[in-house]
Symmetry: D2
Subunit: 331 residues, 4 copies
């Protein structure tokens, strides 16, 4: 039974706490948060301890440190935990600054600890089935990948300053998804974008509707379509076109109920709105994969390097947007 020190007690930390508890091979040992009240509440629910981050990271009983604190603390906590030799699961991103990420990756690699970055969408049953079908060659060689990813509604104004902008905050999930499905690194990036959804986003210098295209050395093309607002739920669709056909994953409605009438035509329900509903199975499967790898002393499925590469694609996308040129990348 692996004992887990959870750093953070916010929305995403609560999701992790549940999956730590549900997993037969992990147990929540402690919760640490600068909001002591939240830490207490969460610890109580799962009969865990409340510790300071320092205490948790250095506690001899702790096997795994799970970092779900604000983004700007990730790199520091990763380095501290790496030095104690504990296995680390870190919510994305390690940092928004490339140099800082590279330094952190160096520390991780030198320490030799198991380190996994949280790109939970790889573990969604739909996406996972798609990846397996592609890997099994069901449509032959992949030629064109289209990723549609639209948030239900824009993030609160308060979250802008620390988010790093749409490419580092939102598209980064799609960069990782593209790499997961392509099985070949992109070599060029081009971007167009606009601020159409929310004037405050435009004022903050960010974009909210963007299209990024990637291309690999062998010519494979990826199109990522992002918007900060769908108006009809969490839009998470992918389609892959290959030599022998296509594979698509679609949004599933909240329930299968369909109403048909004179007024409404044939009306299905919206898909879920919140990340935690859409990807609840993904979070659980991600944790299970991490714990299984740590327990078996095998490589974890997503590395620090994957986090770095997704960030490098985000940087290239920003450069392409600014220069109006196709930007080369070497991952």
């Amino acid at each position: 039974m692996l004992k887990v020190a959870l750093l953070g007690a916010g929305r995403i930390a609560k999701v992790h706490a549940k999956h730590i508890d549900d997993n037969p091979d992990s147990v929540l040992f402690s919760v640490s948060s600068h909001t002591t009240e939240s830490a207490k509440k969460l610890a109580e629910k799962y009969r865990a301890n409340v510790l300071s981050v320092e205490e948790a990271i250095n506690h001899p009983e702790v096997d795994v440190v799970l970092i779900a604190t604000p983004n700007d603390t990730h790199a520091d906590f990763v380095e501290q935990a790496a030095r104690t030799g504990k296995a680390i699961f870190c919510e994305k991103p390690i940092d928004l600054d490339i140099a800082r990420v590279k330094a952190c990756v160096k520390t991780i690699n030198e320490s030799g600890v198991p380190f996994m970055i949280g790109f939970n969408r790889r573990f969604d049953p739909d996406h996972s089935a798609l990846q397996q079908a592609l890997a099994a060659g069901e449509i032959g060689s992949l030629e064109h990948l289209q990723i549609n990813s639209r948030d239900p509604s824009p993030p609160p104004k308060e979250s802008f300053p620390g988010s790093g902008g749409i490419f580092r905050d939102m598209t980064i999930h799609d960069f990782d998804m593209a790499r997961f499905l392509l099985q070949e690194e992109p070599v060029s990036v081009s971007t167009i974008g606009a601020a159409l959804v929310n004037p405050e986003i435009a004022q903050g210098g960010d974009l909210d509707v963007i299209v990024v295209t990637l291309q690999t050395a062998s010519g494979k093309i990826v199109v990522i379509n992002n918007s900060r607002r769908s108006g009809y739920g969490f839009d998470q669709r992918i389609e892959a076109h290959g030599q022998r056909g296509s594979l698509q994953v679609d949004n599933l409605p909240a329930t299968s109920l369909v109403k048909s009438s004179e007024e409404c035509g044939t009306q299905a329900q919206k898909s879920p709105y919140a990340t935690r509903d859409r990807y609840s199975e993904a979070f659980s499967a991600q944790w299970a994969a991490f714990i299984a790898a740590v327990k078996a002393n095998k490589p974890v499925p997503i590395t620090a390097d994957d986090g770095l590469k997704a960030l490098l694609l985000a940087e290239a996308a920003i450069e392409s947007y600014k220069t109006k040129k196709v930007v080369s990348v070497s991952l």
Copy 2:
């Protein structure tokens, strides 16, 4: 080029006129109707002659008589045309009275003329694909057939007296469809029903929501679900369950346009409302099959006997409704 005398100039006659004209092997020779004005208009459109029914049936140039007049004239016109030796296409039913139908069938058989009764739904591309898949054994032996057939809205009050009631007027299409798909005759019939849609239907002694179950000698089960009103278009769905899976045909929407929004969920369009839209391809294919058979001197796909048997099932359904018992039939 087969020359066709069209008897009738109403809604359904107009549909036939178009398909006679479109078919490369038939031409509209004449139109006959007691409403002379309608006959004239229709004849003019296709450069055909206006003739009396007598003249048309006996005209030496006429090869085919198409009967699309009011129901109570069908049997007489069939007999007259049969005696002249012309090929006959007759809209269902031959008559609503079983004895009259039997006499008429006898005349037809003695005359040896090609005679086809109009059960156009067999020629609908969806239903036809279903029949072929069943016949090809795609789901192994058929076990359970469900026919959903709902009119968009109740027929006008005026049509009640001559309609023969829901079983002879509406369910008769589904009895024929069941026989078409089963490839085995039903041996028993049971019925439940109610008048829920329109109080005037109840006052006229008719029903408007009914379920008829059929069973064949080998045990195959059919359920026919009828309503005089769907409230969302023309509901025409069939599902077949067999040893190795199921086959279903569904309602297609008017266009593929789908709208997704906060208010409407995911909203597809209604299916078409009118028979002539839903089954326009079926009418065309039916006529083509008839003309091809006549031209090649081969058996027509639907016989007078098929019309009789569907009517016998309607009679049994009525008896079952009245007696609250399963009724045996021998077709």
Copy 3:
């Protein structure tokens, strides 16, 4: 925190154990089973005690008795638990014998204990959304309900003797669903059926493809379509037709992945095969509803009477099948 004594340690008992543990207001206190090994294993997993049925039912710390033992033990255990004044959750059926059920219901009612029978399908998110839409009058007055319920594959031969036959074992879920959705009691029942799936079922005197129609006093019609084998997953669809349109719940595929190719057309995945996958959310929501009612001292959502009425409909269906007549019922 309500302490639960779980009677049984088989497949369905394990499902309940998980939901007892997950629910924030209940805890698994003990497991009892004549298969001691299974009881031990299950108890260990949730840190619960292993007790005999007698000990469990009479234990002063136990608040709730959950009966998930073989069917023929239900009635006895219900009566024993009722006499101790404990809240009872009992898997369906109370018994397969009507007289025994009636006696048991009497004991329950006299004891005044909270008693709920497990018809988990009412709590499935799809079915629940359908019920709420109907209750909210979204399609006006209900006229025609169609329930499609097909098992993925026939039950093992060994389960026949104790099952009570298809109507008491399988259709009973659909009788309860019909009552749940109708909000009006059926007054008549008619049945047709056949043994087409498995010759061993026929030899055992049972049926495996059946259609039962129900009708209420106001004329509303229900059609239940059952088969012991679908060949494509667990078929659980319902459609409701009313004054102003229709509502349908459909089978959802295992994932949303769809493949399109020259060979396969457009191919979606099968729906789940097993009850525990299809209805896992239903089991959880059912338990939550029971615990919430017991805790709040409010009426439980499904009563012993509901269990009895579903069984009376099964009896009527059997009689109709034998007599080939519509059978009247008075619930």
Copy 4:
């Protein structure tokens, strides 16, 4: 009744001949083709005359000239017909050379004859419903348009030399569709592409999988996804995302038949493969719109200018592909 001189007797000319004949306000007067045999056959079918192009264009009875000859003859025939004052319907493109198109447009404008270029897809019921819904503001302001257009299979090698390449031959339809739906001109174009489908296409210097993004002055984004091969039918899907939701048009299957089984999951039919099947209604509606405009002496729905602008977008797309930069356009 407008008398039509049809220039051409190939595949697309035959489609037009049928719609000329079906339309109540037009009649096929003559067919002209350098393949005299084809012209004769087609003329015979519709009881029309066989004339030389010269004779047809100058015939006093001819009201409309329909140009469906090989691409490199369009501009000459357009100019000849314009000078006779006849109404002209010309299959796209006027020419593949921008200068030639501009000269031709000048002649047309000076002549004042009704001139329509054939972009039939605007008249497809699905696309037309989408355009109307957008124009009616059903999703508020449009933000992001995605056009998926994939041919079932690559064109024959022989067609390469004269096609003008994928952008002028295939994407040009999507450029017109984008302009039709946007109601605002694009101001910039960027392109990525590859030759992945057919090595012969690569050897000919052409591409077969491409993505073009467009942006308007107000920031609206368009993504066009093209491939010369889908492997599952004619892929023609569009999705529009706006302020208040999304609108999508999808591929409809050949029939609604769906098969479910252990082996195949839930399998729908492929969509039609051929342009003439997918867009048969579009061709008919396009002709009706042209004839109605000519008859009523009103502006035709698609002008020579629309043809020119689509071609200018194709040129810009080619330039962007070559320079790896966003290219500005001024339409």
